[in-house]
């Protein structure tokens, strides 16, 4: 699937964000993310990567500039957005099935429809067998799968992910990367993905945005023209290695600039 080249999902117009008095986090960011794109945001720590996601979701307002999501203000667009946090953020007193259904429950979707939706999602992410387990009985990877299922339960058009796999071991992370692409191919959402891992960003994205720190600003935008569907074998191809090398180089530039 290729990005729809005309319809913008997210637009930033000279967006600036500072916290309190004077601590400038992001400076005049211009950004256009199209429907169907998978955009990763990378950059050294302190460049405001996570703040970008908070601005898109309306969890924090910009200090200056305008943000449009689906042509609406971020707050009004919330129904179309799901957020996946760095830790799985599962409510420990709820079973997997109750956690995955949380979004639908809060949005007051009828129990019957909710249960059907949750059951099918648990199958989709491979958690059918642990539906009635509590989060503390799950491995890190399974928790993250539950978190992904919860995010997808509300049928989002836009998925925001804040370093979701940072705490996982490399093998689990690779597996989940492949699954995220599989789910996206089926469900066709747009994604903005914050990560520390250049290889992960290259593997997942149609485009990588490299931020420079102090204050956060766009340093470079790298298109990743690898064909979909992408599978595990892609990681062994020389083109992939080359793109990872190039992106790492640009990231180092951003840091030393």
């Amino acid at each position: 699937m290729s990005p729809d080249s005309n319809v913008p999902q997210i637009e930033f117009e000279s967006v600036t964000k500072s916290y309190g008095t004077g601590r400038l986090v992001l400076q005049s960011i211009d950004l256009k993310i199209l429907k169907g794109e998978f955009v990763s945001v990378i950059g050294p720590s302190g460049c405001g990567k996570s703040t970008v996601l908070k601005l898109i979701s309306g969890l924090t307002p910009p200090s200056a500039g305008t943000i449009r999501v689906d042509g609406m203000t971020p707050e009004n667009a919330r129904e179309t957005i799901s957020f996946i946090f760095q830790d799985a953020t599962l409510l420990p007193w709820r079973t997997v099935i109750e956690n995955v259904g949380l979004g639908l429950e809060l949005e007051r979707v009828a129990t019957k429809r909710r249960n059907e939706k949750v059951a099918s999602l648990l199958q989709l992410v491979g958690l059918g067998d642990v539906a009635t387990a509590y989060p503390r009985e799950l491995s890190g990877g399974m928790k993250m799968r539950a978190s992904i299922a919860r995010a997808l339960a509300t049928s989002p058009r836009l998925l925001l992910m804040d370093e979701p796999f940072a705490a996982l071991d490399e093998m689990t992370r690779d597996r989940l990367n492949e699954e995220v692409l599989r789910l996206r191919a089926e469900q066709q959402w747009t994604a903005v993905f914050v990560t520390h891992s250049v290889a992960e960003a290259v593997f997942l994205s149609t485009r990588i945005i490299v931020l420079a720190p102090h204050p956060g600003r766009v340093h470079a935008v790298l298109p990743i023209d690898l064909p979909f569907p992408r599978t595990a074998e892609l990681r062994e191809l020389p083109e992939f290695e080359e793109l990872v090398g190039h992106a790492s180089h640009v990231l180092r530039e951003a840091l030393t600039q």
Binding site: R78, I81, F83, F85, T89, L91, G103, L106, E107, Y134
Partner: protein, 263 residues
């Protein structure tokens, strides 16, 4: 299982050793009976006066339980108010510390003055003395919700009521139980202390504190010991019931409530 048996055996051994030392002290130093009765005399008093002992314990148990339940209800309500804003907490928190520091003996005459002597006064005293830990721990539980959870709820446009009942309150339950565990001990102590002064609205019938006061004035030291024993058992009983409830409600999901595995 074997480990648990050893623990019980150890505790029993210490108990028997204590009884022997107690009896030896009586023989060697020739302590008069009104100062320190023999273990046998205490046991006899315990059995002979068992009905009145049971009655006193029941009265104290009822007052302690009433005070504890009231302090849980009132404490959670206050905590909900405290959880609304930092400003409210700053303004009102000093008064909960006041609750904790006011000498209960000093306000007992006032309470008797207002509600009269008897169970109502004692229950009120148990409530006052056990309130602070419930308020402090529940407030902490309500306000210490991880920011990401709040964001998650906001992303789904959760109403304030949904955030309270589906996020903050369940999150506060483990802390609430910490508060209740402390409060349960205090409620029993509060009830017995209260009974020393406000124990009875009817001569001769009262809880453990009242009977302790009465037995001491009559120099019935053997019965006094039996009453102290009953008070200790009552305190233990409260503690274990709270521990059990805590385990029952939390063991499925909360780490602290899990029984350590012995394999």
């Amino acid at each position: 299982m074997k480990q648990r048996l050893t623990t019980v055996a150890n505790a029993l051994a210490v108990f028997v050793a204590l009884l022997i030392v107690w009896q030896l002290v009586l023989w060697i130093f020739r302590v008069p009976r009104y100062m320190l009765p023999s273990p046998w005399a205490v046991a006899t008093a315990f059995v002979r006066r068992f009905p009145s002992l049971l009655m006193s314990t029941a009265i104290t148990a009822q007052e302690s339980l009433g005070g504890l339940l009231a302090s849980i209800i009132v404490g959670v309500l206050i905590a909900l108010i405290f959880a609304q804003s930092r400003w409210v907490r700053k303004m009102l928190y000093p008064y909960t510390i006041l609750l904790q520091t006011v000498p209960i003996i000093a306000i007992t005459p006032l309470i008797i003055n207002w509600v009269g002597p008897g169970s109502a006064a004692v229950t009120l005293i148990a409530l006052i003395i056990s309130l602070a830990p419930v308020v402090a721990n529940t407030t902490q539980g309500l306000i210490s919700v991880d920011e990401n959870f709040v964001h998650l709820f906001l992303m789904h446009n959760a109403s304030p009521a949904q955030r309270l009942f589906k996020l903050r309150l369940p999150h506060a339950v483990p802390s609430l139980f910490v508060g209740i565990r402390i409060a349960s001990g205090l409620a029993v102590i509060g009830a017995i202390t209260g009974e020393l002064f406000a124990g009875s609205s009817q001569v001769g019938v009262g809880g453990l504190g009242y009977s302790i006061f009465y037995a001491s004035s009559q120099m019935q030291t053997d019965y006094l010991f039996a009453l102290v024993l009953a008070a200790t058992v009552l305190g233990f009983g409260f503690f274990f019931i709270v521990m059990f409830l805590e385990w029952y409600f939390l063991h499925k999901w909360h780490e602290s409530a899990r029984v350590p595995e012995t394999e």
